[in-house]
Amino acid sequence: MSLSLGLSNALSGLTANSRATELVSSNIANALTEGYARREIQLSARGIAASGQGVAVTGVVRVTDGVLISDRRSAEANAAGASQTSSFHKAIEQALGTPGEDGSIGAAATALSAALLSAAATPDSTASLDSVLRAAQDLAEKFGAASSVLQDQREQADDRIAASVEQLNTALRQIDDLNGQIVRLNSADRDASGLMDQRQQLVDSIAEIVPLREIQRDNGEISLVSTGGAVLLDGRPAVFGFVPAGTITADMSLASGALSGLTLNGKDVTPGIGSNRLVGGTLAADFAIRDSLAPQYSARLDAVALDLVERFSDPAVDPTLGGGAGLFTDAGGPAGATTGLAGLLAVNAAVDPDAGGALWRLREGIGAASESSTGKSSLLSSLNTALTQAAVPSDPAAGTASRNLDGLLSDLVSAVSLQRVRAEDSESYASARYSALRQDELDQGVDSDAEVQALLVIEQAYSANAKVISTIDELLKTLLEM
């Protein structure tokens, strides 16, 4: 009986070797597949009573490091969130422009002052007055452009939130579905590694949105909980609710009800307002951009715009105003609500020949009925003085120190620039951390050299087993020839 036992042992060896080559080939084939975890064969000696009965394949192991993956996911979420915030600040900095850059808002304000200065020397020159008008229009446009970039950023953040919420809901449903299939396969003692790879990919796909932790349950099922403590999936998937606003204007806010908050199974979890359960990822970063960062800059820009309007609407500067709007208007009239003013800033039509006004009003006064002396430069001088003299802005959002317009704008740009540099620093820290963890994770992936090496060993073992079979065959033949 022992010869046939030997045959059976060798056969079991061949089977195990074939299974091992199968795994090696699968590993090599998936060497570059995202989310694929290297497979390892688990062998044990098949033993009945005391005698060896060959080798048995007890299972296939997916080699993963749960702690590492969890760390990598939260680092990924932080890096993605930081990158979102930093590109927001960068966009605002670019919209405002750094000093000295052509087309920056500061350069436009300085150009207006220089144009007024030149025009005061040659008040009779139409070209000089025209350059004052162009400079003023340019400055108003710069305010409008910066304001619309801010609202665009809010709209984009709102759109991204809607897309993220959609993605979260879909992925959570799919993960839940896979959970079910994996549990069934595991209970039937079948290999669920492929489905686990798919599930890991799905979890990875939402890890950027919300930093989350994976919790292992029985039979290979997983639960997902955000690092802030919101349960995303436990037996059944959570449902996020969000309504995108479409177009967003400066006066729309979460507080006014014009913008949607975020709900989780019907409960309010909007990041930033009392709920820290979803902080850390792109979702929270987008809510921060939409509800706090952009509105803060917007309020400051509006306050500076108000200061600009007020500087020129002082009757002491231009006695002809009679309570009307000065050189800069709030959509044509005197300054109304501060919110959204930067976007509505316009040059008074009374001085714009294209809008039915006349350039000489820059020299005579916005409210002047007729032209008197072409050499009058006093108003142009006092307009320039109004622009360049230091004053405390009426809206403290623009700043509380006594500044001229150049100063207010450079304070604003400095604040944005500082925030941008800080956001970039924290982005590069977060992304360095993510890279390091990602590299560690990838280190555990398929090493094709190691697989080929293993293949060599398997090859040897296979030949050895085959040799055993042929030897036993010889022995049996010898017996039969007797």
């Binding site: 060497a31 570059l32 290297r38 390892e40 750094t98 000093p99 000295g100 500061g106 350069a107 304000a109 300085t110 150009a111 002052s113 220089a114 144009a115 200065l117 030149s118 005061a120 020397a121 040659t122 009779d124 008197s372 002396s373 072409t374 050499g375 009058k376 430069s377 006093s378 001088s381 150049d406 100063g407 704008l409 450079s410 740009v413 400095s414 604040a415 620039s417 500082l418 925030q419 941008r420 540099v421 800080r422 970039e424 890279s435 990602r438 590299q439 990838l442 280190d443 555990q444 992936g445 398929v446 090493d447 094709s448 050299d449 190691a450 697989e451 080929v452 090496q453 293993a454 060599l456």
Partner: protein
């Protein structure tokens, strides 16, 4: 499998990241070496852009101040030139007028009267000088002429002196007309009020303009007008009174020369102030440019060194990439 195995993707991930980082560095450094400016102003100034903004604003204003100063200079020069030619007209005429003594023949008087008439025309046209389509002596009303034509003024003067028979009364009437708000100020002078001073440097203004209603100019015009009136036949037939009027005109012109000189001196001082301001603003501009450079410029040596360094690093990385990715156990089996 052994724990020391390193996943294939890990290697390419690291190489990719290093390549991206080096390329970004290469971009930044090549931008800095070619433009000489910091590629990220906000970062290099630690987010404090106030000083740079102030420098940029001052530079833009310095440019505007230089433009204003140049305009003021052109105008002051034109004014000075006009005053000089007015003076030489006046000096020439005064010399001719004084040389005519009592008892001179009516032809000689007619000759100087003719000369007076021409000089008056010339003086008025000098006062109507325009520079860059801007009337120099018209004050606020820069578009129109500063003074009326010689005929208009002389017509008005003829009315004022009509019926007068002595040189003394004619002179008094002409003087009175020039000093009367309803006389020269409303009929002869067509310009407006005084121009505001022009700001030519931070906190520095200059008033380099003179109007044709300046007392020095009015005094000069009185002399010219007296001589020109003779040409219109005032006191005709009374050679003695005519000669007296010629003399009075000559003296009036001589007397006015002092106030013209002080007017010229005033413009000269303004010209001086303008050129001082120009020097000052130009120097400030240079200083500001230097300051701006120190704020935004990238150290050329550092940028070039870093560029070379990044380049050689990238080359090494490419070589390493080719080597590392080419190393496969399967190739050796």
């Amino acid at each position: 499998m052994s724990a020391s195995a390193i996943g294939d993707t890990a290697r390419s991930f690291v190489l990719r990241q290093q390549t991206a980082a080096l390329k970004a560095e290469l971009d930044r450094r090549s931008l800095e070496s070619t433009t000489g400016r910091q590629s990220d102003i906000g970062r290099s100034l630690h987010g404090n852009l106030g000083p740079l903004a102030a420098v940029e604003a001052s530079l833009a204003r310095a440019e505007a101040y230089l433009g204003s100063a140049s305009t003021a200079e052109t105008r002051a020069d034109a004014t000075q030139t006009a005053l000089t030619s007015l003076s030489s007209l006046s000096d020439d005429l005064a010399a001719s007028l004084i040389s005519v003594g009592t008892g001179t023949s009516s032809t000689a008087i007619a000759a100087v009267a003719e000369q007076g008439r021409t000089a008056f025309d010339a003086a008025l046209s000098t006062l109507s000088t325009r520079v860059a389509d801007r009337s120099v002596f018209a004050g606020l009303d820069t578009r129109g002429a500063a003074v009326a034509s010689a005929d208009t003024i002389l017509d008005a003067l003829e009315v004022a002196v009509a019926g007068l028979t002595s040189a003394g009364t004619v002179e008094a009437a002409v003087n009175a007309w020039f000093d009367d708000p309803a006389g020269y100020a409303s009929l002869g002078y067509l310009g407006g009020g005084d121009l505001s001073p022009v700001e030519i440097a931070p906190g520095k203004s200059v008033a380099a303009d003179v109007t044709a209603r300046d007392p020095a100019i009015i005094d000069t015009l009185k002399g010219f007008a007296l001589a020109a009136l003779l040409d219109r036949g005032i006191l005709s037939g009374d050679t003695e009174q005519q000669a007296a009027l010629v003399k009075a005109a000559g003296e009036s012109l001589y007397d006015s020369s002092a106030s013209r000189t002080s007017l010229s001196a005033r413009i000269g001082i303004a010209q001086d102030r303008i050129s001082d301001a120009q020097t000052e603003v130009a120097a400030e501009k240079t200083a500001l440019s230097t300051r701006r450079l120190s704020l935004v410029s990238a150290d050329g040596y550092e940028a070039a060194t870093a560029l070379t360094e990044a380049k050689s690093q990238l080359e090494t990385l490419y070589a390493v990439t080719a080597k590392v990715l080419g190393l496969k156990l399967s190739d050796y089996l």
